[in-house]
Symmetry: C2
Subunit: 141 residues, 2 copies
DNA sequence: GTTTGTGCAAATATTTTGCACTTGA
DNA sequence: TCAAGTGCAAAATATTTGCACAAAC
C-alpha cells in the first residue's frame, strides 16, 4: 500500500512552541511580521521564514484562523471555537469578536447553486473600530 | 476661500480611454496585470504604473468595483449598478454575478453596534467555479 | 541515523513612487 | 501655458523557496 497521503504529526521544536505561545495569549489578529517582532523582543527569536511556515501549518491544521486585512496582509489568531465562524475585527488593533452569520452559510450555497456555480466558498468579515481604539482617537498605532 | 478639497475632472487621455475600454466589454473581474497585458496585445499599450493609477482613480470615483482574489490580488470590474452590492465570482475565470446580501447590511451594522464598534464595513464575497469552467475541468487556466 | 525543521539569503510578485518628459485643455 | 498625466526604472511589501545545517524522535 502506497501511503503518500499519510502525514506524521509535526515535531515539537522550540520555534513551534514559541509561535504557538505568541498566538495563545491574545484575542487580536496578528500578522506574521508582528509575531516575528514580538518573539524577537521577548528574546525568543524565530526566523521570519519559520514564522510563516509555522503559521501556515497551524492554519492547515485548523489550529489558527487566517484572514486578510483590508490592505491584503494575512492575519492570524487562535480562536476559541474550531467550527466555522466569522469575525468582527478592529481595523486599528486587530481585536476580534467571533460571530455567527445567521443564515450566511446556506444563503451562500443557494445563491451559488442558482447560478450554476459549484464548490462555493464565502468570505464574510466585518471591520470596524473598537471602543478602546475609538477612545485612543488620533493617536498613531 | 481655501479649496484644497476641490478636484478637477480627470483629463481624457488615450491611456485612460484604453483602460476604461478594456474594462468595458466583459463581465469578468480582471487584475491590473491582465488588463496591462490585454492592452499590450491589442496594440494599445499603456504603462503598467499608469494602469494601476487609472484603476485606482476609477475605483475612488466609484466607476469600477475592486475586490481581492483568494490569493490577495486586486481585481477590477465595471459593474452594472453603482449601488453597493456583492458578487459571486468564479475563482477560475473571474466571471461574476452581482448579488444582494438579503439583510447583510443591517445585520453588519447591528452586530457591530452590539459590540461597541463604529464605522462598520463589511466584506461579503462568494467564490465558486462557474459552469463553463467546470466543463473545462482539468485544463490549465 | 533518518527525516523534519530552521535560518538566511535570494527569488517572486504585486503595487507604489520619484522624476524627467509629454500632453490635454 | 502649465497643471495633470505618463513611462520607466527603482523601491517598498509581503511572502515563498533553495539549500546547507541542526535537531527531534
Amino acid at each position: 500500500m502506497n501511503d503518500t497521503t499519510h502525514r506524521n504529526p509535526p515535531r515539537m521544536t522550540r520555534q513551534r512552541a514559541a509561535v504557538a505561545d505568541a498566538l495563545g495569549d491574545t484575542d487580536e489578529f496578528r500578522s506574521a511580521q508582528q509575531l516575528h517582532e514580538l518573539l524577537r523582543s521577548r528574546g525568543d527569536a524565530v526566523g521570519l521564514a519559520t514564522v510563516y511556515r509555522t503559521l501556515q501549518a497551524l492554519a492547515v491544521g485548523g489550529d489558527v484562523d487566517v484572514l486578510r486585512s483590508e490592505d491584503g496582509e494575512s492575519l492570524y489568531r487562535r480562536c476559541a471555537r474550531r467550527e466555522h465562524h466569522h469575525h468582527l475585527v478592529c481595523r486599528r488593533c486587530g481585536r476580534a469578536v467571533e460571530i455567527d452569520g445567521p443564515t450566511v452559510e446556506q444563503w451562500a450555497a443557494s445563491v451559488g447553486a442558482a447560478h450554476g456555480f459549484i464548490d462555493i466558498d464565502h468570505t464574510v468579515e466585518l471591520w470596524g473600530t473598537c471602543a478602546a481604539c475609538r477612545a485612543d482617537d488620533g493617536r498613531p498605532n
